[in-house]
């Protein structure tokens, strides 16, 4: 893809030689790309530049922006305890969700690829929760895990376990959100499953002949072969964790019993700011307090962190396509 753009997709074709870019050749691609380029300019490039500008101002949407220099960034880094709390919660979710999601999805996929009867049915059952709109799934979980009458604590009580307060306990709210995310990870499970099914059978046969048991075959054949898929899963999970918003806002709103629309001032972060993620606090600052300048500085921080992972993703993509060309 990157090595020889002119010939990549026409390798082996006799047309390569006599279809050459002519002068004016760029007009057609430009016509095809025009909407996308306009979109990039209007909805990506312009807002990014505007974001940088707003981050150096105090702006409430009504009065004209006032230049305040680095004050928003100084406040973000040293002055705002809730921003620190929010960053901590987001990092917590990113780390825990990424690790557990990968281990869990790989485990489930490893079982599913061995299923011989009713594979389609199992696949459907496991994928269904991933389809549910996040708001609906979160409502379902706040009901299932509600401390008084919820089915989860009811079932736990059959075994003599008195369940925690889940979404109403600062120590258990994030673990409950994590369970919700694992429950909805059917997409990743199917991706990993597809990766496992792509592993050539000869590799397993060779390993068996060498006397490798099923555990060692999984460790030394399956895992190395699906590494690209797992890397995708890691990046996908990190991005998911960095954006964590809907579930946190809805769970907080429902568990707090707030009568307002979700995302209201009182409910956010409930209980005790344990579900206050960085994007939630950004939203709160920007669209409830109308601190557009400060929210912009927070956006820049989030952008920088996610860009690090984007660069990593692009790097992997380029390497993968190089490998394809060589093969």
């Amino acid at each position: 893809m990157t090595a020889a753009p002119r010939t990549t997709h026409v390798a082996g074709s006799t047309f390569t030689r006599w279809i050459r870019p002519r002068p004016g050749h760029w007009i057609r691609p430009l016509a095809f790309m025009a909407p996308a380029l306009a979109g990039l300019a209007l909805f990506v490039a312009y807002p990014l530049l505007a974001l940088v500008y707003y981050s150096f101002t105090r702006y409430d949407l009504l009065n004209t922006p006032v230049w305040v220099g680095l004050r928003n960034y100084v406040f973000l880094l040293w002055g705002d305890p809730l921003a620190r709390k929010a960053a901590f919660n987001t990092v917590w979710l990113v780390v825990i969700i990424t690790v557990l999601r990968l281990v869990f999805a790989t485990g489930v996929a490893a079982v599913l690829v061995r299923v011989r009867n009713g594979a389609g049915l199992f696949r459907t059952l496991i994928y269904l929760p991933a389809l549910a709109p996040p708001v609906a799934a979160t409502l379902a979980f706040t009901f299932l895990f509600n401390p008084g009458t919820g089915p989860v604590n009811t079932v736990l009580s059959w075994f003599g376990v008195s369940g925690p307060l889940w979404f109403s306990d600062p120590a258990w709210a994030k673990p409950a959100l994590t369970l919700l995310t694992l429950w909805a990870s059917g997409e990743l499970i199917i991706i990993i499953m597809a990766g496992m099914l792509d592993v050539p059978g000869e590799l397993y046969e060779a390993a068996s002949l060498d006397g490798a048991g099923s555990v060692r075959r999984f460790w030394h054949v399956t895992l190395p072969a699906i590494t690209p898929v797992l890397v995708f899963g890691v990046i996908n999970s990190i991005i998911l964790g960095l954006q964590y918003f809907t579930q946190a806002v809805v769970a907080a709103s429902v568990a707090s019993g707030s009568a307002d629309i979700a995302g209201s001032r009182r409910a956010i972060g409930y209980p005790d700011n344990s579900t206050l993620t960085f994007p939630v606090w950004l939203y709160q600052q920007g669209f409830h307090y109308y601190n557009m300048g400060y929210a912009s500085a927070m956006s820049i921080a989030l952008f920088v962190v996610s860009t690090v992972f984007t660069v990593f993703f692009v790097h992997r993509l380029r390497r993968a396509s190089h490998a394809e060309e060589v093969a």
Partner: protein, 299 residues
């Protein structure tokens, strides 16, 4: 994998080649079959039981929904009618439909030609543009919300769903990325043949590439539909203050607030919001699975 016993072996008893070694491996195969399938069954139940409890609670009476009971003592399908009576769900449904369908239409109009140019045309700067599109795809939606909100507020379009719909008619980075990957799977010889027959780029795209990648287009349209249907942040940001423009997801989030402790009604509303998506999946399961695996394996 070679030792896995197929159900046919189990049913017929595999008596064709008797021998102690074979019988032993066969018994091990049966044990394995039982182990794998019981774990899979347990997992399947774990994934689906929450949905079952939600559905069961939706049928309970007001009083019973407040108890720890798992099974309805009496069935109250009228809860669903009650949900439609207390909230203008049809209106929200209409808003959700408008958002999702227009977004898909806009996405197809803008992303198909862009993906074609990125996958099948040779021009200077193509790699750079493609990298920019990937980068745009990875930006968390909250990052650009402040300047975009200010932009749409200046155009007096906040309070509506248009700020969410209109961009799809210009760009949807994720769809362009995925469509490009699908377009690359078509062998070049087909495009060469079309060229020999005198097709220009537009006809090659419409007559050769699109028919050959129909499953991919279906999958991408489904993804776009699902993303917009499930979107909460976007509608909250732009239409949160204007209940006339609420989508189903947005309305559902505030449903429980309005119906304090009525879990049965809340769960009935949850079922109503989940159902269209589940129906869509049942109808288009193949496209879904193909699209998902494509994202991960080729992405």
């Amino acid at each position: 994998m070679a030792t896995v016993t197929t159900p046919a072996d189990v049913a017929s008893g595999s008596t064709s080649r008797p021998g102690p070694a074979h019988r032993r491996s066969n018994r091990r195969g049966v044990m394995r079959w039982i182990a794998v399938h019981s774990i899979a069954l347990a997992l399947g139940l774990m994934f689906v039981l929450p949905l079952v409890f939600v559905a069961l609670t939706a049928f309970m009476s007001d009083g019973q929904a407040l108890t720890a009971d798992l099974w309805p003592r009496s069935w109250h399908p009228a809860n669903f009618a009650e949900v439609f009576r207390t909230a203008p769900l049809l209106r929200y449904l209409g808003n959700s439909m408008m958002y999702s369908l227009l977004a898909v239409a806009g996405m197809l109009l803008s992303s198909v030609p862009a993906a074609y140019a990125l996958a099948r045309m040779r021009w200077r700067g193509r790699q750079a543009v493609f990298l920019v599109i990937i980068a745009a795809m990875m930006i968390p939606p909250q990052v650009l919300s402040v300047p975009l909100y200010i932009l749409w507020a200046r155009l007096h379009l906040t309070g509506t769903l248009w700020p969410l719909i209109l961009p799809y008619f210009l760009i949807d980075a994720f769809s362009i990325f995925l469509l490009r990957q699908f377009f690359l799977t078509v062998p070049q010889s087909y495009l060469d043949a079309a060229r020999v027959d005198g097709c220009g780029d537009l006809r090659t795209l419409l007559r050769v590439l699109l028919p050959m990648t129909r499953p991919g287009i279906a999958a991408i349209s489904l993804f776009c539909f699902m993303y917009t249907w499930n979107d909460y942040f976007g509608p909250l940001l732009y239409a949160g203050e204007n209940p006339d423009e609420w989508t189903l997801s947005l309305a559902l989030a505030s449903f429980r607030g309005a119906h304090q402790v009525q879990w049965n009604l809340t769960m009935a509303a949850t079922v109503v919001v989940m159902l269209p998506v589940i129906l869509l999946f049942v109808l288009a399961q193949k496209s879904f699975v193909r699209g998902i695996t494509f994202t991960g394996v080729k992405g």
